[in-house]
Amino acid sequence: MSAVPPATSPSTLPAALEAARRHRLRAWEALPWVAALGAYFAFPAQLAFGTLVLVTILFALSLDLVLGYAGIVTLGHAAFFGAGAYTVGMLAAHAGWTEPLSGLAAAAAVAGLLGLGSGWVLLRTQGLTLLMLTLSTMALLEQAANMFASWTGGFDGMPGLEFKPILGLFGFDVLYFRSQYLYALAVLFLGFVVLRTVAYSSFGRSLTGIRENLLRMHAVGAPVRARQRAAYAISAAIAGVAGAVFVQTTGYLNLGVLSLDRSAGVLIILILGGYGRLYGAFVGALAYMLLEHSLSKAYPTAWQLGLGLLLMAVALYARNGILGLAAAWRRKWAAR
């Protein structure tokens, strides 16, 4: 019998094993944090905007876990952002509970429980039904917040919320947002550490499996539903933390935290940056918010038109976003 021709290339096993060590910290991973700290010193007048960017990155990161890794398409993620936001807001306004760190814990708990509960119920469905139900859950909460206006401030919301200094030391500076920025950065860092750990773990890899081939995941004995629910709950808790930081740093809360605008916005940001890549959230949030900040106020309609066209183009040609394009170019460059 003729010899079986060997694999066409030399063993790629070493490359495969190297890829399996993806979790190792690379030097460039320090860049975003260095840049964020640098921005603190370089742009002292823009820290309010910077704080919003940091909060949005955290929110987008949480969405990446369910969407980018587990493949659950949701238009209702603002439900968890809003849950965290209103938890902190209502505790401050009605119970006089304005200590920020415990407020974060409460927000994470409430949003996480909401994620666990709604995930248990919603993740039995898929496709359009699931999409629609995530939208409905968020709209339900939005309308509930509207209806119980005496608790939530309703349509007008709760302006002018004030919070105690962090650890009793760092008070929130309403004018220059110095403490807020660093606070948001610290929370973002911790949230990122959590998400990075989960994403690179065996659990995180099983989520990728669920996204790539659901049937195959069942066929390797994975408890698919339970994994999805866990991812959804973790993601919800972190989104809740993002919402809480939003309220604590801006002192402002209204129905907008539960709106389709916010859900669609974070979805767009994640896709523009590149989902399933963790750092896509950073790139997408920064790029989108910078553009929005400069263009949207000046030319709101043109901004919407441009954004719409961009989304259509991305869906057709660049579904993996900025980081995806960068990776493709890098591959093309390496293959030359």
Binding site: V121, G127, L131, A139, A149, L267, G308, L316
Partner: protein, 287 residues
């Protein structure tokens, strides 16, 4: 407000929901494509009616017909050039594309016409009240109820009794099998997409009195159209009809009883309903 008035008011808005949503239901059932821009076609239709009446001097019904044709034509172009490239794509890409398209539609209308709400001037014979004997009610709403029911019957007959209708029903139930039986599914879809979008356009026009007409229309009512379609069942005209009426009446009642946030009950009910019966009122559970 007494019961009969509430019921009639709800039925009228339900009819509008039906006319807009039926196209979405059939196209989604046929191609499995998540078209979140469907409300945008309804809005474009409403604006087409307004502009045709205002600038071309067309009477109401002629303007509706004109809007149907214009929007159906736009739909065909969009479908052939763009939508068709995403039929095999992941759900996320379809969502992204159609959200983007919605933004483009909203922005285009805002730039071309302006952000203000539009009002349509109804023909004289539809204004005012009609005396039904036990009650005097808005003529326009009554016309909507009559017209919507007639449309439902026409569509239902079309699907049940014509060859084209049989092809559509077959393709909705099992696309691959229909294809292997010789049905040109691609052309079928373009046709159904055009008709569905045209109907949405008419819905946008006739519904301007009830749902309003401004550039934010598509996003404001997105959840409603999706709920009507999901509850009614994909590709089921009669299901969508009853779902639309149910939601129309419920919404009307809730807005009267709880003006602030009453619609939360609609979302809650949709959630419960779809969890118990994800295939919709008349849909069939997948194999």
């Amino acid at each position: 407000m007494d019961l009969a008035s509430i019921l009639l008011g709800g039925l009228a808005s339900g009819m509008v929901l039906f006319v807009v949503s039926v196209g979405l239901s059939v196209t989604m059932g046929l191609m499995g494509f998540v078209n979140l821009a469907h409300g945008g076609f309804a809005m474009l239709g409403g604006y087409a009616v307004a502009l045709l009446m205002r600038h071309a001097g067309l009477p109401f019904f002629a303007a509706l017909a004109g809007a149907f044709v214009v929007v159906a034509a736009v739909a065909v172009v969009l479908e052939r050039l763009l939508y068709a490239r995403l039929y095999a794509a992941a759900e996320l890409d379809q969502v992204l594309f159609t959200i983007g398209l919605t933004f483009v539609m909203i922005a285009t209308v805002t730039l071309a016409v302006g952000p203000e709400s539009q009002t349509l001037v109804l023909p004289a014979w539809l204004r005012g009240q009609t005396d039904l004997g036990f009650l005097s009610y808005r003529s326009y709403s009554l016309a909507l109820i009559a017209g919507g029911t007639a449309l439902m019957l026409a569509l239902w007959l079309g699907l049940e009794r014509t060859r084209l209708g049989a092809q559509i029903r077959a393709a909705v139930d099992n696309r691959r099998m229909a294809q292997s039986l010789g049905v040109d599914v691609g052309r079928l879809f373009t046709l159904v997409f055009a008709l569905g979008s045209g109907l949405a356009a008419v819905g946008g026009g006739i519904g301007a009195e009830i749902l309003g007409l401004d550039p934010q229309y598509p996003l404001r009512y997105l959840a409603y159209f999706l709920i009507v379609v999901a509850v009614g069942g994909l590709g089921r005209v009669s299901g969508v009809f009853f779902a639309a009426l149910l939601i129309g009446v419920l919404d009307f009642v809730l807005k009267v009883r709880f003006p602030q946030g009453g619609t939360m009950f609609i979302y809650a009910l949709a959630l419960v309903f779809l969890l118990l019966r994800p295939q919709g009122i008349f849909g069939r559970r997948g194999p």
